[in-house]
Amino acid sequence: MTRRLPSRRTIFVGFLVLALFLLPWIVGKYPVYLTIQILILAVFSIGFNLLFGYTGLLSFGQAGFFALGAYGCAKILLVVPNLLLGLAGGVVVAGVGALLLGILSVRHTRIYFSMLTLAFGMMIFSIAWKWRDFTGGDDGLVGIPRAPLEIPGLVSLSVATMERYYYVVLVLSLLAIAAMHRLVRSPLGLTLQAIRDSETRAEFAGVPVRKYRLVAFTIAGLYAGLAGALLPPLENTVTPSIAHWSTSAEPVMATLLGGVHAFAGPIVGAFLFFIIKDIIVRFTEYWLIWFGVIVVALVMGFPGGVMSIFVKRPK
């Protein structure tokens, strides 16, 4: 059913995107920095939710791929200061990592899968922590340049200022979100949701379930890698903490906050996450405990109506 006029939602999104483009002209440096972090978490989280909300697989180890993206990008930039190369490289490393670990993980039941993702995520953390020669150990890597956007021989654009880097992050984030939007409304998106609702039925409908779980896992890994790769040029350093399970918790919390079963949920959640964290941190340094409370409250407190549409556990 085609409409003549754009829907209210499209207009709203249009305004939002416009506002995001105008942001550096309206506000100061810190809010721009904060928005970059929100965008990074948003990309991280929509990848996570493809896996969770759409395919039914709960991963507690996405930070592993986030870190692969970050370290991959950092190592490249330290050698070849070309932003596009660094970002692409980070994404590729994360994707390959997700593919390999996915092959080991997706053949298992959902509980096992979640346990394995936690274990694998921390495995990457322990490698980042210990492999001093390559990753800098617990000191991490420093001096990562905010390299220029460059296609050799054609164009070279400096993105040294916060405002310029913001536009890089914004454009890439919007492209990533748009691509995901298209994906979830495609036949693949439908197949993944079928797998979420009933793996058995999907299998008996002719869907090779394991293969598509791997596809979803790899895409989630690619998105985590992109998000991670955007970090080093921003902060000029990477440390192993970005591979820790507490980082894996961030897309989980953002998605829960914003809504698991809405496409925009993780994006809204990323925004809420930073706002809430910002508020909590003003009062106490122990913000994880409050997020724990929020998670518990969200899981326990869904009104009966929402709970009843979740799939009941088979006995």
Binding site: L104, S114, L118, M122, K130, V296, M300
Partner: protein, 285 residues
Amino acid sequence: MDTIAFQGLIGLSMAMYLWLISAGLTIIFGVLRIVNFAHGSLFMVGAYLAYTFYGQMGLPFGVAVVLSLLGTGLLGLVMERWFLSRIYAIDEAYQLLLTFGFILILDDAVKMIWGGVFKIPPIPAFLDGFWPVFGRSFPVYNAFVIAVGLVVAALLWALFEKTWWGRIVRATASDREMASAIGVNVPRVFSAVFVFGSMLAALGGAIGTPVRVVAPGIGATMIIQAFIITVIGGLGNLKGAFVSSLIVGVLSAYGTLFFPVFELFFIFVIMAVVLLIRPQGLFAR
């Protein structure tokens, strides 16, 4: 040769910590069919409580351990009774999320109450000292840990195979509807089993205190190791958990000896290998 045998003993004592925490996780999963992500945090709480009672308040070691078991058991009861039991019927992902929320709370709570700096509690005098074994000095305390682990294994076997309560638990584990139909109070069994499993984790933490550091974050490390054990041994399989703990503990000890840099990484490699060649676990039925 002596070094190898000695390191094997060290590995054996490491295996016992792993065994205590995985036993609790396995029993809880076997009966309630849930995986408590916060199980490692219960280990950690057990450790901190034991440290407080023994290391700070100076209570006798045995008393401190018992108190920490009771305290952690109480925490486990709250978790199960007030929270987990209310969401048994929903998608298991939400149970995982709930217990994940507990990790966040407990990890920070521990930091708030005891501070973030790690503690090293003293070894009780009667267990201090060394025995000459294989030409080296083997800490008496490690022997104590091995003894505790083996005793627990024997007690658990006796409990589940020989006692009336054990039979009820096994019946509930295999078919809760049937158990309920013959008059078993299933919710109460669930709570009891959860508390029991929590206390096992706490035991691991409590007796672990004199030789391991007590710090925030040990909960997460332990739960991951417990997961790896259950992957290797097969989820819900107590015998498998025991044997896998032995395998992982001893192999880790050898790993530390020959490849010190990759100690942490080593058990992940074992897990990955098992996943590739026998994904359902080495001892799955």
